[in-house]
Amino acid sequence: MGKIIRFLPLIVFIALGAVLYRGLFLKPQELPSALIGKPVPAFSLPGLKNAEAVLTPASLKGQIVLLNVWATWCPSCRYEHPYLIDLAKGGQVSLYGLNYKDDRQAALKWLDDLGDPYLLNVFDEAGRLGLDLGVYAAPETFVIDHHGIIRKRFAGPIDAKVWQEEFAPLVKMIRQEQARGE
């Protein structure tokens, strides 16, 4: 007993050190989404290009859907845009956009100037869908599987490295599930 007591400060020190050391590598800004495993929340919003269109969750149909939340006021969105264009060309996923709290004209000009990687853009001027998705900034990207279930939420810009580390394994997994008919 006495020996344990003597070493207790050292044990506590090591335990605390381990916890704090681990804390150095956590990314608290990457919140787990409350929506993982749930379907895309219901919405009924206009399209960005076609204001007459009424878009609903059913409008986001593809093999594996990537829903990218973006806006012209968001500098990181500009950073990730070229990669999104590459990604769209790759054809691995169906890339949809959620134009979040933006100005329609500015957004259209952005797509004209920088290229349009999206199959379709939902125009969420008031940020209602953004709120229902738990979006707190742009860019954010959601992976939606073939059943319409949200499988991942990623906050921050996507580039090749992020894609390889964060998205590629999940996309592969969903494709396997699909192949098995799950």
Binding site: G2, I5, L8, L31, L131, L133, G134, Y136
Partner: protein, 155 residues
């Protein structure tokens, strides 16, 4: 010259603190009860973007939006519980400054008490041991008499 520099520095400082101390813009209710509920809700809810601030303190876009959301929901007559669970559904337990007691948060809720308990146990054991050693070291009355005798002899 020095005075001027000091003055400039002081002004800068005052300017900086005024900006920091500027209250965030919030809507208000005329009804004091509603206003109190509103204020306590936006203090209990954490800003998801700027994680160490609550909705009341933050002026980030999302905090403004969520404050307005709280305001609207209160105006619609929603209960406080409904409002917090609405936020939790979207942003996760994280938005609560006082998270619910669950497996994930046991350590938050009970950690301090456990650490205090361990501390008390250590102090008690240490104190007992010290008392025990003291007892061992002290002389029995017989030994004390012998010591006194020796000391007397020396004198």
């Amino acid at each position: 010259m020095l005075n001027r520099i000091l003055c400039a520095v002081a002004l800068l400082f005052v300017g900086a603190t005024t900006v920091l101390a500027m209250p965030s813009q919030t809507q208000g209710f005329d009804d004091p009860v509603m206003e109190k509920r509103y204020q306590s809700l936006i203090k209990e809810l954490r800003c998801p973007k700027c994680q160490n601030q609550n909705l009341a303190d933050s002026n980030s876009q999302i905090a403004v939006d969520l404050r307005n959301e709280v305001y609207d929901m209160l105006s619609q007559g929603k209960a406080d519980m409904e409002i917090t669970s609405y936020m939790v559904d979207r942003y996760g337990e994280f938005v609560l400054y006082r998270p619910k007691v669950s497996q994930l948060t046991y350590i938050l809720w009970f950690g301090p008490a456990i650490i205090l308990f361990i501390g008390v146990v250590i102090v008690v054991i240490a104190a007992r041991r010290k008392a025990a050693t003291k007892k061992e070291l002290s002389l029995s009355s017989e030994q004390q008499q012998q010591l006194d005798a020796i000391l007397k002899e020396k004198d």
